[in-house]
Symmetry: C2
């Protein structure tokens, strides 16, 4: 592999910046790991020792790369990163899904991946245009949880629907025809899909005719909830059922 570039969408590899995300990559997707980068300042830390040990076991090369780490992460205090091959998995059709339609904020997407895994939703789709799920800011905000998920990016929502016609859709909309508690009081099929729209514009109006639109009962004093917050409340409640 040549010298490491700052992250670009057209590369076939990406970076998991941070001790914890790098470790998650080695633990859960060792097949994807190409290299581990360590900062000289990490020498002697427990995290660096654990990463080095696991990398040796997996025959993954470890190198000191202070400048590459700063370039990749845009931070001076990034002590480690894993370099990994990008992946794209089909979603498991038998399981519930989260679909993010045109999300534009890396932090939100990463946080939603982390929350989804934490409540046992292992399948997440993104619909273009959207952030690049391998942007290091997504990987970092996900705390490496993406290495335990199936993630697929679709060009259109119609492609998602065509792949998973048996899923009941629950689009989250400010004017959803039922509130979340009303929806949860009824029957929820085993295969459900929670759909969340863009941070600024939400879901297109056409989604009000898909499945069962849901509104989270917040008051009128705020414009809307943050996207990652709305998704967390939806995923928590649906997985509690």
């Amino acid at each position: 592999m040549p010298s490491l570039s700052p992250y670009r969408s057209d590369l076939d590899y990406a970076y998991a910046p941070g001790m914890f995300p790098a470790m998650e990559c080695l633990l859960h997707r060792p097949d994807l790991a190409r290299r581990v980068l360590l900062h000289t300042k990490s020498a002697g830390t427990e995290g660096a020792a654990r990463l080095t040990e696991l990398a040796a076991k997996l025959h993954v090369r470890v190198e000191e790369a202070d400048r590459a780490l700063a370039r990749i992460s845009g931070k001076e205090n990034c002590f480690a990163a894993a370099v990994f091959e990008k992946f794209d998995d089909p979603l498991n059709d038998a399981r519930p899904h989260v679909v993010l339609h045109n999300p534009s904020d890396c932090g939100n997407v990463g946080t939603i991946l982390r929350t989804s895994l934490g409540f046992g939703v292992e399948d997440v789709a993104l619909i273009r245009p959207c952030v690049d799920v391998f942007d290091p800011r997504v990987v970092r905000a996900s705390m490496g949880s993406m290495f335990q998920l199936r993630i697929h990016t679709y060009n259109t929502f119609e492609e998602y629907e065509a792949d998973h016609p048996g899923h009941m859709l629950y689009p989250f909309m400010l004017d959803g025809s039922k509130s979340l508690p009303e929806v949860l009081a009824g029957d929820i099929p085993e295969r459900w899909t929670l759909v969340f729209g863009n941070e600024g514009s939400g879901l297109p109006a056409a989604f009000s005719k898909k499945g069962q639109p849901v509104r989270i009962p917040s008051n009128e004093r705020i414009d809307s909830l943050n996207l990652s917050i709305a998704a967390a409340i939806g995923v928590y409640e649906f997985t509690r059922k």
Copy 2:
């Protein structure tokens, strides 16, 4: 007022960057508004027209300040800001509270303010050391919701307890002795306080002896939930009761 500095904690004024946060300041705390700053690029937009009209009604000065906006927000595309006097309110002792113990991330704090208001919790305390609640990154992430809240920063948690001895404490901890659904199945007094710890280290162990510690039932596949996500789930569930 002299020329505008980049934000500093020791100033007696702060900035609400962005059209929406600036508008929220004028709408809800006109008593605090000192000036409105507009970018020349905002000329002709509906947002700028509404801000200018309201400012005129309130006798708040409006000025074009492209360079000040870039300096304040650290962004090139910040089209408006309100300059406002800092405030510090006693919490309403008759109402439920959210307490953030040593939060270190501005985005998390702002998002929690927004979520709290959205579910009707109007009183939020921060415990030092913590981010400055008037940091423009907090104000922006709050989407200006802070102008509808009572917010007080305490030096210690003991000071908070001394001010509000009638509140039942619910510290959110990874090893909380009851799960959130268990806690909600029991009686919740009218005056409750949800307490959330630092992003990295959570709450000190001593909180396990305060009130009723609560754990959110996420699985073992993630280290923890993001702070703003945990707070959102807690606030949503407690306010639904």
